[in-house]
Each structure stands twice: as C-alpha cells, then as structure tokens.
Symmetry: C2
C-alpha cells in the first residue's frame, strides 16, 4: 500500500487516516469544526457522488455509520451531523467525494445551523488554527484503536 | 402493499411517495426549502442511522444517489446537498432516519449555509405555506416518471 492517500490534490500521510476499506478511507481534519469532526472519503478520486458505483456509495456510507458510532462514543455526543456537499454549488471545496461526520450535543453551537456555517468555511476560515501533524496522528491513532486496525492488504 | 407509508408518527399516502425499494422510500415534502427538496426514508421506523443494518444503510444511500441524479436533472441544478440530521442534538425533528436531498445552484441562497438554516426550521417555519395534496401528488408523479415505476411486490 502507498504511503499516502489521495484527497483531491492533496497527498495525505497514512498517519492521518484511521481506516481504509475497499472503497473508502477515514481522515482526521486539519481544521475541524468540532473535536471529532472527521471525513470519510471515496478511494476513487471523483468529484461527485453520482460518479461512484452503487458498491462505492454503499461502502462510503456503511463506513460512515461505523465512524459515526465511534466519534459519538469517543466524544460523548448525543447525535451526528452527516453531510455531503456534492458539487461546488453545494459548498464543496475539495473536488473529491467526502462525507462529513460531526458529533453533536445539545447547544454545541449557538444556533444549530452554525455547524453548517463552520462547515462551509472549513478551508478558508483563518480564525481556526491548523493543527500539528502530531495532533492529527494522535487523533487518528485513537480512532484506529476504536475501529480496529485496517487490513493492509486492501 | 399498504395504502400508506410510515414516517415517524405520520401515515403518508402513497401518492406522496415516488419510489419504494427493499429498505427505503422517497417522499416529497410538505414544506420544502427549495423546489425539488425531497426525502429518502428508511422503511424500518428507527430513529438513528446506527439502528440500521449495513444493508439498510447501503440501500438508503444508493437510492439517495439515484434520487439526487433525478432532482438535479429535473431542477436543472449544479449540485446537491445531502444531509442526515441524526438525532435531536443534530436538529432531527421527525425521529425516523431520513436523508434530505436538495438540488443546489450557485447563489440559490444568500449565504450558502442558509440552506441548512431552512433545513433546521423546516417543520416549524410558519413563513412557508404547506402545499396542497394535489401539488405534492403532482411532484411525486414527475419523480416517478423520472425514476421508473417501483415494484409493487416489494
């Protein structure tokens, strides 16, 4: 397996991934909106959900369910926001299909919809500091322990 | 097949549905945020995504992809917002797993995140008038024509 995973134009080090399945992988965020806000990304680097095969769609969201359970448990949350911004007109910033999985608690944002405001501005928002590689690797390691090691043979 | 489909506490007439698959069905909205904003609902009436089996998750989102293609085409859109509000803490108002599929165009909301504000307030928003049963049946008929008739034997 390569030492990096492709996310749009970015080569992401494996240390920032927390699972790899047949058609998807999980990534921690450089600038999460919330602790535990992670991404599930299609392995095939296509822009739109409609570009994926049914098997690829199924794996992306079955993995999303699994990842959602893990972040909800790890972050003692009461719910999840799961969202695909499918195309630039929907706020997509990296042209590569990815599912946002965000643990939620009552009152975690002043207005409930502020979670989406943060989501839309995820890449551009200068108020949020990018995290260090060490922080991201540490979060990925916690997620890997929760989910179980992936099969390197995939 | 029964004459109604269950969506939380609501018995929805089949005239408002536009597909029924093994584990999911498609519904038009009483108060859509946008023309073409529709729902894909799990047939088993459980509240949380984590309550579904992997087969149920897979069908929900594979159907969501199919429905997304249809609404994007029918509404001449450039993208889609696909979102599950999974639990009350995430803004879920009907405690029954459902995927929002919303066709998007550049500039369709003053701020891109206003789509979510509308989504959060979908049930309570008194500014939006509920549509007539005839309007909803007409939209469902257009969607059925686009998607192909469902198999009544399901």
């Amino acid at each position: 397996m390569a030492n990096t995973l492709r996310f749009g134009p970015i080569a992401v080090p494996l240390s920032q991934a927390f699972f790899v399945s047949k058609h998807a992988f999980g990534l921690v965020n450089l600038k999460p909106t919330q602790p535990g806000h992670v991404l599930v990304v299609s392995r095939r680097p296509v822009a739109r959900l409609g570009d994926l095969s049914p098997d690829e769609v199924a794996d992306l969201f079955v993995q999303g369910q699994r990842v959602g359970r893990a972040v909800e448990k790890l972050h003692a949350a009461d719910g999840l926001t799961l969202c695909v911004q499918d195309g630039a007109a929907a706020g997509q910033t990296v042209p590569h299909v990815h599912l946002h999985v965000i643990p939620r608690r009552p009152g975690d944002f002043a207005d409930n919809d502020d979670v989406y405001r943060e989501l839309e501005s995820r890449v551009d928002n200068d108020r949020r500091q990018p995290r260090s590689a060490a922080d991201m690797a540490a979060e990925a390691a916690v997620m890997r322990r929760e989910l179980g090691d992936w099969d390197d043979a995939i």
